[in-house]
């Protein structure tokens, strides 16, 4: 499908991929970086090549319906009619919760908002959650516990440029958001960039001090460094007295974790823990930043709490020039967790079990509060329940590729296969779409308007820059089409983004994430608006907590958390630990980036990083195909011998489909409070895969 030849206008917008939301301008399908505070004119290879997806021959341009086992083209009317007919049948048989909705952290605020409303109002189901559960949920739970409110970075990213010391934990921005690194140059120059990561990543290579904890032991490391802060007389006592509560209870735990004891658990030298403590304590301005490496654990929220405890002991949060923050991953990982596609939330970061919140949101929606369902299952639990007696029998997926991105993914694919109805709305034929009964082709970033909330809590307007291919609809139009067929009034599900945003503002008004003062006009005029923005004349809140934290008494909370270690121990059968992560060239499940030739040439297939000694011990050489197996399943990947890897740990990127899915072996053990699965550590073994070569391996889908 070719685009209409029109004079090409240059439109200022933002990158479709990660939460850094680099400023770029788009002319037709050509992308160029522009000077914006988060990226300072930089772009990584993903951003530079993002325009190629606009005209990719792989784009979906017509709805598909499964007939006799095959997906065949259909009209929109037939596809939507079919979906609604099946939904009605399934709900008649299994009740409202017989139909579930699964969203994504890449969806705009408007889509996330309308999707949550669609689930609660049009479907009347409690069964709605999203892939941000696999991403931000542990940091969000811990941030809320400590500060009373969670915003990834509660300060502008550019504040980091004045930091004398920065501790990054489980974060690899040199690969996952490269232009971010420019904000660390001062910390690198002053000799106080500290990176905690089991691997010697490109980010760790830039560090002045690399702490390499064994996977799953970050919580102990945080306790050890905090212990060193106290034992070496570096505790910020006046801050602890004036701005926090709960230090005594925390110290009863941390007192048991002196650095030498922590060394034994983590493999991080006690001397290095003390050095980290003193670099942070002696810096005038210091930041502690966490990311998925430390968060994606069955003890993820407690682990983040442990890092926040350290930040509080040093007196960093809520002080201009210092702080704690979490580096959000997905493009709209921040906004996506605020506006109601999460099982336990309503728009404005409200709780669904809060009567006042229900009353307010129901009022905006024009429905009785009693008609709103309660909290539903969390992402993995929802997927795990599909097709079971009490679980949903239909699933509508927007902006997610769960067959690749969910843990224990063979099991999830098996659950999907038991559904009476699987609907996938996507721009490309993802691995999940390939299993669907109905596939709906939707627009992508440069083809539609919408807002995104970046990693700093700044709300950005992504503007339509080019025309969508014929036959493609926006997610908002899809929701409108479904909702009206389900008997909802047309005006309740607007398909115009700005109209939806206006309603979102009303729904979010007065909530923790208050967007009511943000308008498209203010965003178009270039205002830098960080939520909360409670009124049209309010300037927004670039730096939170300067006057107090969001708990009623204004104090931040220390949380007494205890080290637990990985949910799955190694044994003779599975003697190694596997950890997973991202590479620079690919994004999330890779459904989009694997279609970009320039990216796929650099990293075309899954690989496993192994210490050369370990590789040899398992009979593997560089370039061999290896099978990485756990108790749950096995993935195949090309061996890369990497001398800096711990001999007991292997690493795999998770962007690849079919037999190369790292999530075939990951552990779905869940965090008790965030319900985050333990993506980052499980017990595995390595074996040589048959010599039949790459083609067979790639062919398995």
């Amino acid at each position: 499908m070719t685009l209409a030849a029109k004079p090409q206008v240059k439109v200022d917008t933002h990158c479709p991929y990660c939460a850094l939301q680099c400023g770029m301008s788009v002319s037709g399908t050509t992308v160029a970086p522009r000077d914006f505070p988060t990226n300072g004119g930089g772009l990584c290879q993903k951003g530079w090549t993002s325009g190629s997806l606009l005209t990719s021959p792989a784009r979906l341009t017509t709805p598909l319906i499964r007939v006799d086992g095959e997906l065949v083209p259909s009209s929109w009317a037939d596809a939507l009619d079919l979906i609604v007919r099946r939904i009605t049948e399934i709900q008649a048989r299994h009740g409202k919760d017989g139909v579930a909705v699964f969203g994504g952290g890449g969806l705009t605020n408007e889509k996330a908002y309308l999707l949550g409303k669609f689930a609660r109002v049009a479907l009347g189901t409690s069964q709605v959650d999203y892939n941000g559960r696999f991403c931000m949920s542990s940091a969000a739970a811990a941030g809320t516990r400590a500060f009373g409110l969670d915003r990834g970075l509660p300060f502008p990213l550019t504040d980091l440029a004045a930091a004398d010391a920065v501790l990054l934990i489980g974060a690899n921005p040199a690969e996952t958001m490269p232009p971010f690194m420019q904000h660390l140059s001062r910390a690198i120059d002053t000799g106080a960039l500290i990176v905690a990561d089991p691997r010697r990543t490109p980010t760790a290579e830039r560090a002045c001090l690399h702490l390499a904890p064994a996977p799953g032991t970050d919580l102990a490391l945080a306790l050890g460094i905090l212990h060193a802060v106290v034992a070496d007389g570096l505790l910020n006592e006046s801050y602890v007295d004036e701005r926090t509560a709960g230090f005594a209870e925390l110290w009863r735990v941390a007192a048991r974790w002196w650095p030498e004891r922590v060394e034994r658990i983590t493999g991080v030298a006690a001397a290095d823990q003390r050095l980290a403590a003193s670099l942070l304590a002696n810096a005038k301005n210091a930041y502690i930043l966490t990311a998925r490496g430390t968060e994606q654990h069955a003890s993820g929220s407690d682990t983040v709490s442990a890092w926040i405890n350290l930040a509080l002991a040093l007196g960093l949060p809520g002080r201009a020039g210092s702080g704690y923050g979490c580096l959000t991953g997905q493009g709209n990982g921040q906004g996506g967790r605020e506006h109601g596609q999460k099982a336990d939330q309503l728009p404005g970061y409200r709780k669904i079990d809060d009567p006042a919140a229900r009353e307010h949101v129901a009022g905006v929606w024009g429905v009785p509060a009693a008609s709103l369902p309660g909290a539903g299952r969390s992402a993995y639990e929802l997927l795990d329940a599909l097709g079971t007696e009490d679980g949903p029998h239909a699933l509508l997926v927007f902006g997610s590729n769960v067959v690749v991105s969910a843990p224990n993914s063979a099991h999830i694919a098996e659950r999907l296969s038991t559904l009476d109805l699987l609907v996938v709305a996507d721009l490309v034929p993802s691995e999940t779409a390939a299993l669907a009964h109905v596939v709906l082709p939707v627009t992508q970033w440069a083809e539609e308007d919408g807002t995104i909330t970046n990693l700093e809590g700044r709300v950005l307007l992504r503007r339509r820059a080019t025309k969508a291919p014929a036959g493609v609809r926006t997610d908002l139009e899809v929701l409108n089409g479904l909702a009206t067929r389900l008997g909802q009034p047309d005006e309740r599900f607007p398909s115009d983004a700005e109209t939806v945003f206006t309603e979102l503002r009303a729904a979010a008004k007065g909530g923790p994430a208050d967007y009511s003062g943000i308008s498209y006009d203010r965003l178009r005029s270039g205002e830098a608006l960080y939520w909360p923005v409670p009124a049209e004349d309010h300037p927004g809140t670039p730096r939170m907590f300067l006057d107090g934290f969001a708990h009623p008494d204004g104090r931040a909370r220390f949380v007494p958390v205890e080290h637990r270690g990985p949910a799955e121990a190694v044994d003779a059968e599975f003697p190694l630990q596997a950890t997973t992560g991202r590479v620079l060239q690919h994004y999330q499940s890779g459904a989009q980036t694997r279609l970009v030739a320039e990216l796929n040439e650099v990293v075309p297939e899954a690989y496993v990083e192994v210490n050369p000694d370990t590789a040899e011990r398992f009979g593997l050489a560089e370039g061999d195909w290896a099978r990485v197996s756990s108790r749950r399943g096995e993935a195949v990947a090309r061996v890369r011998a990497v001398a800096s890897m711990r001999p007991d740990v292997v690493f795999l990127p998770f962007h690849f489909p079919g037999a190369q899915r790292a999530n075939l072996f990951t552990n779905p053990a869940l965090d008790p409070s965030s319900r985050m699965p333990e993506f980052k550590v499980c017990a595995v073994r390595l074996e040589k895969h048959s010599d039949s070569g790459a083609d067979e391996v790639r062919g398995i889908r």
Partner: protein, 480 residues
Amino acid sequence: MTRKVVVVGYGMAGARLADEIRARDPRGDRVSLTIIGAEPHAAYNRVLLSAVVAGTMRPELVRLHDQDWAAAHGIDLRTGNTAISLDRAARTVALDDGSTVDYDALVLATGSRPWLPPVEGLALEDGTPSPGVVAFRTLDDCDRILGAAKVGAPVAVLGGGLLGLEAARGLAGRGHLVTVVHPVGHLMERQLDPGAGHVLARALGELGIDFRLGTGAARYVPGDGLKLDDGSSVQADLVVVSAGVRAETALAKEAGLEVDRGIVVDDALRTSDGRIHAIGDCAQHPGTVSGLVEPAWQQASVLADLVTGADVSARYRGTNVVTKLKARGVELTALGEAQTEVGDTGAEVLCLNDPARGMYAKLVVREDRVAGAILLGAPDAAASIVQYYDRGVPVPTDRLAVLLGRALPFGASPASSPADLPASAVVCRCNSVTKGRLVEAFRNGATDVPELAAVTRATTGCGSCRDAVCGIAGWLAETS
């Protein structure tokens, strides 16, 4: 029916056992708990006493429990009470206040007491230390040490073992003139070989500590100091004794339990009376060296499983001991068979001795596994070796890298000239730009960094390759 568990001893083992029991039985449904503690105050963390002596930690921070801990957890805590006898038939413990306590299960966690060597004048007739002599064992001892020695005053430490050296380092850090008297020819002879002991003495010497090795104390003269066996003397306003400990076994012995060096226990931590258990320093388990916290805490965890019924198959199988010296500025780790010599034919032994830089690194490998090690001045290497030891991970074949850690620089080759880079070398990782691509772009007319960036996108990601691209542009300009 709740089970009456009585713990004699409210130190690190007894306090931990109580925590572990209440973690498994928070409301006391299964176990009613009584703790008898001889010291008048709440349990404290003995490991942190050297930080108190060093002056970096306030004494109140070493408490293991808050004042209201016992009440909050439904525990009958009797501090300032000493258990004086056991009646195994009646299953009661008699206390020094005349009361008795019934038990279904009794746990002895009575710990150990410092041993005073038979040096003339060191002890009073009742066996307690003379004025000016302090053991380094309790929080009260810390108070005594800090109260007795004016800043800068000379202090003698009797005993060059782990705890003696930690005390010496703390006191030196407070400005005292410290002399360590040790009857053996090298320090920490239980854990170190002579080579390591000598490098350690030299490293501590640079921190201001003097040593008298290979000679014992003969006589203590209050107000003056120590006379040594070799006839010399050491001036000291205070003598800190750290010459070892003895398990506190009197109660067990009088009750007729089997006692050797300590109270003998099996893997279920049972004494010769199945209703009586012992954990921590007072217990003697075949796989355990006493005097360390980690074994006591592991025993507490196992015993809590057993007495609450949380896991009746739980057993304690001993602890792999790793010794770490907690002395600011000196990083020492020792483990396993550290005394095996370089010439040993049954093992692979690597050893590097660099006294001038305070470094001693020794690794004993058997069947590709760590069998022993001493690492002084190589903290990161030590941390990795301990992981291999604890986890049974085969030792990487680059033994030298294992032994030296960061001291062996990673990829230590000097920054190479752009000319030496292969064309396939990735210069800009963010945009996958190779040197070859930059050369090609230069030849096509992009001759400075902005132009190269515009054509190849190099430098437009994180920006860290800017210097490298600049270097390549300069090299191409010179050579073209």
